[in-house]
């Protein structure tokens, strides 16, 4: 841990905002404070997590509106809400938005916020890089969506954007250009973040926090970061080729020049399949924290859970061509990828049974968080099993590219991923904000969302098996599609109601908070380190860096087992928790440069599409910002704050001295 002991500095909430002299004559060196400007320069992993989360929820609404448009168009045969052209743009942007702008950044929010807290660190390894990931992600997200306004519409090639349909001849608007460049920008963000979080997990754990004592959420997030690290370069290569094809007349995907369109499919799915696990593993981690807490039992088979997560991460690299069973890749390849796909079901099934075994003999308390967590397991199981049915490659020739697949992956991504992350929000909300989400509204949210979800995506299994193709903007009467499409549309409206309830819950909970009892550090009687510090988390996280003695260390601080094997309380959470009143804690200095670097990238993007002069300006902004960043002192000389990017090794010793609970 990179915390150095320096002359004391009061850093409680309510510090005055102070600005130092301009170190480089460009920006005033910002300091930690509470104004809106401090959010622009923050390097605090918690604030960056909140920024990720809030932006992700905004794009959830954008993607949700796109989803509702799709469902309204398909509610009845010969729908005329959208033209075919607009429909293709909307369904493409729905997919891109939900994957890249909602669920990935929402998982990133959890990763940013909770990895340091769960491993007993005061920030991530590279705080300014962390800010850089967020701002680049946001600039990419905004860039991508501006194609609606300045690009002649959104991309219309599907999120998978298969060659040759992605070529200029078949998609002449700028939508696909925005897709190709926008996803490259988003990729930089994820890549930077993955390196940062991997280093954080490996190097910044509190003393005694061995890898096999890390909470499962942190484990799953760590695996996710490795998947991102290796998957994103592949899609970046593909996007780079596509960009050159479209903007500079390259011939990588031109069949008339001898190209094989399957090249894109391979590149896309080598990224695209691990992407599924990038989406689902964080939710698995969340569920693995919540079910033990509300079952009053430790996670059943911690080692199996960790290693099955690792196994999923590894095997996820060997299954990509199951998206291509009907592409004509030959029976040997089909058989091989069919087999590898089946065997990835083994570690996944193990996880499901271990969650059930955690509940076995437990004392289950069905808070909203627990309901969402259990629903995640149940819904994911359905999605996993429908996945098994089309892992049988010949059977898949009847199912692929039908609504059966749409049903399948929504059960995995929405049923598994989104419900899981909602569980996480209800669970950690008091830790982040210092007040609970309202449980009564939460219950309505849960049940309406669960029913709406099943009503939307359940019928799609039937529609797919009845032969309804994916990605069609309308369908004719007489194929038997009418009833279930209407049902799905009704279901999607229920989901919309549930989302509105969630937003209402956020607003109302905040408004009611002053009249309600505070949650205290550990409202759910939970197990991991983030519950040993006050809610909301003080800016420096830990007063003293904890010394970890065992897995679920915080629980063992509160409880012990007596001679008869009974659990007895040894301390209350309030007694054992840190107070958050430490002084003399030194934190990294804020910086505007990550934001400035991120501003340059979309300018390069617009420039590549519209005028290379603009790209030049964008490049200058980016390069100048990077240089300014490099020359910005790591420690603000005028502040007593201390940036801590360096000297990890030296700090280790001091950490050890500072370790241990202060209870």
């Amino acid at each position: 841990m990179a915390i150095t002991e320096q002359p004391p500095l009061e850093l409680g909430p309510g510090d005055a905002v102070r600005y130092a002299e301009k170190p480089l004559g460009v920006f005033t060196r910002p300091q930690q404070g509470r104004g809106w400007r401090d959010w622009l320069s923050t390097v605090d992993h918690k604030r960056i997590g909140i920024l990720y989360g809030a932006s992700a929820m905004f794009f959830f609404l954008v993607g949700g509106i796109e989803a509702l448009l799709i469902r309204l168009q398909l509610a009845a045969p010969e729908g005329s809400v959208l033209s075919a052209d607009v429909y293709n743009q909307v369904y493409t942007m729905h997919g891109v938005t939900m994957v890249f702008l909602f669920i990935m950044p929402l998982a990133a929010a959890f990763a940013n916020y909770f990895i340091p807290l769960q491993i007993g660190a005061r920030d991530v390894a590279f705080p300014r890089l962390n800010a850089l990931s967020f701002w680049i992600w946001l600039s990419g997200a905004i860039f991508l969506n501006t194609s609606w306004i300045v690009g002649g519409g959104g991309a219309d090639c599907g999120w998978f954007c298969y060659s040759t349909n992605s070529g200029v001849a078949f998609s002449p608007s700028h939508g696909v250009d925005f897709y190709a460049i926008g996803l490259q920008i988003l990729g930089i963000a994820s890549l930077v973040s993955s390196v940062n979080l991997i280093v954080t997990c490996l190097n910044m754990r509190a003393p005694g926090m061995t890898l096999m004592r890390m909470p499962v959420l942190t484990w799953m997030l760590l695996i996710t970061q490795f998947l991102l690290l290796f998957a994103l370069p592949v899609i970046t290569v593909a996007l780079f080729l596509l960009m050159f094809d479209r903007l500079f007349d390259a011939q990588f995907f031109n069949p008339d020049a001898g190209a094989d369109p399957l090249l894109w499919q391979h590149l896309f799915w080598i990224f695209g399949h691990p992407e599924v696990y990038i989406i689902i593993l964080p939710a698995f981690g969340v569920v693995s924290e919540i079910i033990p807490t509300f079952s009053r039992k430790p996670l059943f088979g911690y080692e199996f859970m960790v290693f099955s997560g690792i196994a999923i991460g590894f095997m996820g690299w060997g299954v990509w061509a199951h998206h291509m069973f009907v592409s004509g890749i030959g029976p040997i390849s089909v058989a091989a990828f069919s087999l590898s796909t089946m065997f990835i079901a083994v570690p996944t099934g193990v996880k499901v049974l271990n969650w059930l075994a955690t509940m076995w003999g437990g004392k289950l308390r069905f808070t909203v968080a627990m309901k969402f967590a259990v629903a995640t397991v149940a819904m994911f199981t359905i999605g996993g099993l429908s996945g098994v049915t089309h892992s049988v490659a010949p059977a898949d020739t009847q199912q692929t590219d039908t609504y059966y697949i749409v049903a399948h992956f929504h059960y995995v991504i929405f049923g598994g991923g989104v419900l899981g992350l909602f569980a996480g929000m209800y669970f950690w909300w008091p830790k982040i904000w210092g007040h609970f989400l309202n449980e009564r509204i939460g219950n309505w949210h849960f049940w309406i969302m669960l029913v709406g979800f099943n009503l939307t995506f359940g019928p799609m299994h039937i529609l797919g098996l009845q032969g309804m193709s994916r990605r069609i903007d309308t369908y004719a009467r007489g194929y038997g599609f009418e009833f279930w499409n209407m049902a799905a549309t009704v279901g999607s409206l229920l989901i919309a109601v549930a989302v509105l309830l969630f937003i209402w819950n956020v607003v109302k909970s905040k408004r009611d908070a002053p009249h309600l009892p505070l949650p205290g550090p550990d409202p759910w009687d939970s197990r991991s380190l983030e519950w040993s510090i006050p809610s909301p988390v003080p800016v420096h996280n830990f007063d003293t860096v904890p010394q970890v003695h065992s897995r679920d260390d915080w629980w063992h601080t509160k409880y012990a087992e007596n001679d008869e094997g009974k659990v007895v309380r040894v301390a209350t959470a309030e007694e054992a928790a840190q107070t958050g009143e430490a002084t003399g804690v030194h934190l990294p200095s804020p910086s505007f440069w990550p934001l400035a670097v991120a501003v340059g990238l979309p300018l390069i993007g617009y420039g590549l599409i519209f005028s290379l002069w603009l790209a030049l300006i964008g490049a200058l902004v980016t390069i100048a910002s990077l240089y300014s960043w490099a020359m910005e002192p790591v420690d603000d000389p005028d502040a007593t704050h201390d940036h801590h990017d360096e000297d990890h090794e030296d700090d280790k010793n001091e950490d050890d001295q500072a370790g241990g609970h202060d209870s």
Partner: protein, 415 residues
């Protein structure tokens, strides 16, 4: 605020009732009564075998696992739920795991998946292996032994079917040839409706001239993508005469949803009749209106369309990105047009003048297109035809080829 277990049970009960009602309504409304694309109603022998060997066994396995896990979960919730947690400081036994148990269910899942793998390996040959069956077809007054093969070419947004009887092609030939835009001349070139003989396994060689499409007649077999620069083998077979619907299933751009096709299975004798009719060049019309239509056709339509005997000797490529538009030599012999989305005839057998005229008047209104002058077209452009020209063209087109049998017209009606 805490919701009680009683609340939950009540809600769950209501949900169950709602779900059952819904399912009842669905069954009552006969949700699958006329579902021509239904994958659970296979009709050809290949599709039936695929269904019974591949689809159903794995669905049963998945169903059993699903029921098992769901029952376990419901039981666990039922048994272990706690109504009032507050103030309860009793903790259950702290089980951290049980290695034999966990190894047990790892092995259990492994065995299950080995069974699924067996299903896969057992059913894989049903879609891929090809018999070397032959049939005798008479073409241009001579008999040839034909290995039933149809070259299937995807285009935005219609399917072309090419039949080679005189100079038969096979997969290796076409792969060596490499390019779907300049295929060797065929005896019969048709679109929208693939005609096949019953009782014969028909090999399909699937390719595309523009983007990736996917050929799928669910009642006869699964699907296979049509990929530019690739020739992929596939097969279908129908035991009984009949019509089998399909829809392009790989997203292929703007009007993907309006790219449909049908397989029409005829007895070998009827198939021969169809071959006789459709292998001939177009006959020059005698009716003055149709003659006028032919002139309009020669002046405007021949920049994209071919009618054999009219412009096949000079035609090079169409203005479309695919370089092709449907061959109209036997237009009237097909009961659908415009990529399988419109009926050439009304159900009573009369010409569907309404849709034909509407299509000629403004094709983009029925099927979105992209026809910016100077760029490669996708779909049929609006030709700005006068009403007189439209009438003449309808007269000409409706005389190209023989009207199909009444049962075919009736059975192949779209909508």
């Amino acid at each position: 605020m805490v919701i009680t277990v009683a609340d939950m049970r009540r809600t769950a009960g209501r949900l169950l009732a709602a779900a059952l009602t819904l399912a009842g309504v669905a069954v009552a409304t006969g949700c699958a009564s006329d579902a021509e694309l239904d994958t659970f109603a296979p009709q050809g022998p290949i599709a039936k075998e695929l269904h019974s060997r591949g689809v159903l066994p794995v669905f049963w396995i998945a169903a059993v696992v699903f029921v098992g896990i769901t029952i376990a979960m419901v039981w666990l919730i039922w048994k272990n739920r706690v109504r009032n947690y507050d103030g309860d400081d009793e903790w259950p036994a702290q089980t951290h795991g049980h290695v034999p148990l966990e190894v047990g269910w790892t092995v259990g899942f492994l065995l299950t998946m080995i069974a699924v793998a067996g299903i896969m390996l057992w059913s894989l040959p049903t879609v891929d292996a090809t018999e070397d069956n032959t049939m005798v077809v008479s073409i241009d007054d001579r008999s040839v032994t034909w290995e039933p093969t149809v070259v299937v070419v995807g285009n935005q947004w219609w399917w072309e079917f090419r039949y080679y009887f005189s100079d038969q092609v096979d997969l290796a030939d076409l792969r060596a040839h490499g390019d779907a835009k300049t295929l060797p001349p065929a005896d019969i070139v048709t679109s929208g409706q693939m005609v096949i003989p019953t009782g014969e396994e028909v090999e399909l060689i699937i390719t595309s001239r523009d983007v990736i499409h996917s050929f799928w007649i669910p009642a006869l077999n699964g699907k296979r993508d049509a990929v530019p620069n690739r020739f992929s083998p596939w097969k279908i077979e129908a035991s009984d005469p009949g019509f089998y619907f399909g829809q392009c299933t790989e997203f292929c751009g703007l009007s993907h949803s309006r790219m449909r096709m049908q397989a029409v299975a005829l007895t070998p004798a009827d198939f021969q009749t169809w071959v006789d009719r459709t292998s001939a060049d177009a006959v020059e019309p005698t009716d003055p209106e149709a003659l006028a239509g032919m002139e309009v056709f020669a002046g405007i339509c021949t920049s994209c369309h071919v009618v054999e005997g009219v412009n096949d000797d000079v035609f090079e490529r169409a203005d479309q990105a695919s370089g092709a538009a449907p061959n109209l030599t036997h237009f009237a012999n097909r009961s659908t047009f415009a990529g399988g989305i419109l009926n050439t005839y009304n159900a009573d057998g009369s010409l569907n003048r309404t849709d034909l005229e509407a299509w000629l008047r403004d094709p983009g209104a029925l099927k979105e297109n992209y026809t910016v002058p100077g760029e490669q077209y996708r779909g049929m452009p609006d030709l700005d035809l006068s009403e007189q020209q439209i009438d003449d063209l309808v007269a000409y087109l409706s005389g190209l080829g023989a009207k199909p049998a009444g049962w075919i017209i009736e059975a192949t009606q779209v909508e």
